[in-house]
Amino acid sequence: MTESASKIASDVRSGARTAASTVKESLDAIAARDAELHAFLYVDDLGARAAAIVVDAAIEAGRDPGPLAGVPLALKDNLCVRGVATTCGSKILNGWKPPYTATVIERLVAAGAIPIGKTNLDEFAMGSSTENSAFGPSRNPHDTSKVPGGSSGGSAVAVAAGYVPVSLGSDTGGSIRQPAAFCGLVGYKPTYGHVSRYGLVAFSSSLDQIGPFANTVGDAALISTVICGHDPADSTSLRDGYPDLMGALERGVAGLRVGLCSDLLDGADDEIVAQVRAAAQVLEAAGAEIIDIAIPELRLGLSAYYLLAPAEASSNLARYDGVRFGLRVERDDVAAMNVATRTAGFGAEVKRRIMLGTYALSAGYYDAYYGQAQKTRRLITNALDNAYASVDVLLGATTPTTAFGFGDKVADPMSMYLSDLFTIPTNLAGHPAISVPFGVGATGMPIGVQILAPGRKDDLLFQVGAVLEKGAPA
């Protein structure tokens, strides 16, 4: 599927094409190639066809199904859809069918989008390669010997392979932007609180944010306009500060101060640094002012993140205890049942992070680890706020390397964690960021450049992203 979501929606709305034929195209593409790429954990063939019929019937009856009419959509499998099995890439959920639907999906369906299925992910979104999925990894369509990135790898592959024009992922420390960079896509993490988390299975509640993958900056803006907005079911949902993303696409960057941030470049491969510098030149040519800037505090993000996120996760994942839903490994007494269930149901990375988080919160270590990490979070946020006094946006690399091979980093968790080095700071601050494809490396693998903006200034990302997209190497 090569058309953009906005083209599909306008064609469906005008009657130039049907939702049914669009969905069929999508399902055929999945059938042709997904045995190899493994983007999907579940394809809702019948549900998608039925939804397409409803959209087409609305058009025929003269009603407008909405701005995403007939657009096929892939959902990361940590988003709840009522009656559809949600796995989170884990054995512990064991076919669990949520009795409710996530707010974002209700919004998308109300706008005419058609969920095609649930995509693969690192178990409970913990990972950077989808190798931690209990159901096997996904493969990068640009080179199937390479990982697609993670944790939202399946959603990235679904767009990169041309199954669907847009998909949803979740980004806790880079889980949208990193696979977007690895797969040559636009990946956007909105300001924390701009997209409701109600119905997103929590990994780290104060960092998680849902966002889209798309082939174009325009499609990312289109779908984000639908999913952003206040939700009373999420106490952390913002009530204000939702900028006009579509309007930002044509605004240009003349006069914009772009901070080229050394702390979002140092440690990246040379070919990536070169593309980020090339991107800066594109912006400069379009009228932006490029300012070299250092924010050394960003370097501390990784350590803070790998204490805070596991701490919250250790608590969020306590409920997988075999009592109310999901897997149960029966034992005589409940505590033993809890242990047997969790031991059998969770994979190695999840256990590692639960252990790490439990440790960081435990009596005697809280102040040194969790408490200190929370203060570091403040330090990094203050440093970013301070930087934004002199620049409007920051520019840097999304990832230190292009997509790596399967198994390259599995044995050493710390090396895997380092691939999130540049994406983590914005999650800690709650700020928005976008990864836009910009050129390829020596092996032909895509490279992403990252734009960061202050909280609630998401429109700046789309302003800059649209210019970069036009100026990217062919």
């Binding site: 949600t86 009592v323 919160l361 809280y366």
Partner: protein, 471 residues
């Protein structure tokens, strides 16, 4: 107690009387079909998120203000531990920054008990145990109903300021009265809407606090007092026989009348508290706090003072009567009756002893009229009590009419005068001694008149008649 004193601190969990649960819109309802008042939030399903019930906060602030607490900026924490009736395997509670702290509660006798904190948290589900004795120990399996899961609680923690089971009981009784008065709870201990944990230790006066034991889930005033008294004696006996007290949780066995160790496989409790990331801080504005304060109803202490100001005596018997009237929420009736002419002392006494707070009460007018008739001598005490009892069936009846229906014919002044003359004539010796100053004989003449009138005469009227003839 062999010279030991008991040190008691109490933790009282109180369910708030909201329409919905603390973090979701499910009904807060006792006694419904199991697992019908449940949603993704209160069953802790993946992806669900809590949103704070504003009314629950208002109730919690009312409680804080009624207990003279500082009401402050606070936040919610997760208290992490595994337990099957707790769906998320953590409880959303408050930790180092509770909504209410540093308060006091004054007992009716004037003793002031410190309130450490009164914080908000969510309740757990309820387990039924199958097999064995139906108790958790020895059961084969358990069934869980999550209807109660997420019901709003305020946990009120006292300072270790109480020194006897009776005082602890008075504290809980007063606390309950306050919580009911502010409308935050129905205070039904037997249904579990108030549950008490008692921390008990003993020491020789002047020594540091001894090791304490916690007695869990006391659900009546009577068991609270008995449990504390038993536990204190148990600890004294243990110390006297040279044993050490082990800090532990104990349960109260009502039938056996004793506390027992809850010998469970003790896991080290490390709750790993951290700020609940799914909720934002609670920062009640001064304006909101003042608005709640200004709408607070009169508290039991104030209501007692209001009644005490009406009566002329403040002996301990009257204080007890007033406390009873307020406890039974009869004080408004008494005050209105006094306003319409009933003598205060008598109205308080009759309300405390004769009226059934849970049952039908006489109308203000009928109650006031009955008291007035008794005071005027138109009804004897016995007759007045009978009239009040009869008013239960006809709360608005005219007590005069009731009295005549009951055969309490009033003695006219003439016939009382005639009777007194007869009695004086028949006891001339005693009369002359009485006239000569022997006041003790008043009693003798009253008795004779009462006998002659078969109790229909009013004592005060008799005294007045005797006095008139003596001068």
């Amino acid at each position: 107690m062999n010279g030991y004193e008991t040190i008691i601190g109490l933790e009282v969990h109180c369910e708030l009387k909201t329409a919905t649960k603390l973090f979701c819109g499910c009904p807060n309802m006792f006694g419904d079909e199991p697992n019908t008042n449940c949603c993704p939030v209160c069953v802790g399903l993946p992806g669900s998120l809590p949103v704070l019930n504003e009314r629950a906060v208002e109730f919690a602030i009312r409680i804080g203000l009624a207990l003279n607490c500082e009401v402050r900026w606070s936040n919610f924490h997760r208290k992490n531990y595994f337990y099957p009736d707790m769906p998320k395997d953590f409880q959303i509670s408050q930790y180092d920054l509770p909504l209410n702290s540093n308060g006091t509660l004054e007992l009716p006798d004037g003793t002031v008990i410190g309130i450490t904190r009164a914080h908000m948290e969510e309740d757990t589900g309820k387990s039924t145990h199958l097999g064995g004795s139906g108790r958790i120990h020895g059961a084969d399996s358990s069934l869980i109903d999550y209807n109660r899961s997420g019901v709003p609680l305020v946990e009120i923690v006292s300072e270790p300021d109480m020194r006897s089971g009776a005082q602890a009981r008075a504290y809980v009784a007063e606390l309950r009265a306050i919580l009911v008065a502010v409308g935050a709870t129905d205070g039904r201990m037997e249904e579990g809407s108030m549950r008490v944990d008692a921390n008990v230790s003993v020491r020789k006066p002047g020594e540091p606090f001894g090791t304490r034991c916690e007695i869990k889930n006391l659900n009546s005033l009577r068991s609270l007092q008995r449990a504390i008294e038993f536990e204190a004696l148990r600890q004294v006996d243990a110390l006297e026989s040279g044993e050490r007290i082990i800090q532990e949780t104990r349960h109260w066995d009502e039938q056996a009348g004793r506390t027992g160790s809850m010998r469970s496989k003790e896991e080290a409790n490390d709750y790993r508290y951290f700020p609940e990331p799914d909720l934002v801080p609670l920062a009640p504005s001064d304006a909101w706090i003042e608005q709640i304060r200004s709408a607070l109803p009169a508290l039991p202490k104030e209501r007692r003072a209001r009644l005490l100001a009406l009566v002329d005596k403040s002996d301990s018997a009257t204080i007890d009567l007033v406390a009873t009237v307020v406890d039974r929420e009869l004080d408004d009736l008494v005050i209105e009756a006094v306003a319409s002419g009933a003598p205060a002392q008598l109205a308080v006494t009759r309300a405390a002893n004769e009226l059934d707070a849970g049952g039908v009460l006489p109308s203000t007018a009928s109650f006031a009229a009955t008291c007035q008739m008794e005071a005027a001598g138109a009804l004897s005490a016995t007759q007045a009590k009978a009239v009040l009892a009869a008013l239960v069936d006809e709360p608005n009846a005219d007590p005069k009419e009731l009295a005549s229906r009951l055969g309490f014919e009033q003695l006219s002044e003439d016939s009382l005068g005639a009777t007194i003359e007869e009695v004086i004539g028949a006891n001339a010796d005693e009369w002359s001694r009485y006239v000569g100053g022997d006041d003790k004989l008043a009693q003798f003449f009253i008795g004779k008149v009462m006998a002659a009138t078969k109790g229909k005469a009013n004592g005060k009227a008799v005294i007045a008649e005797l006095q008139a003839r003596r001068n």
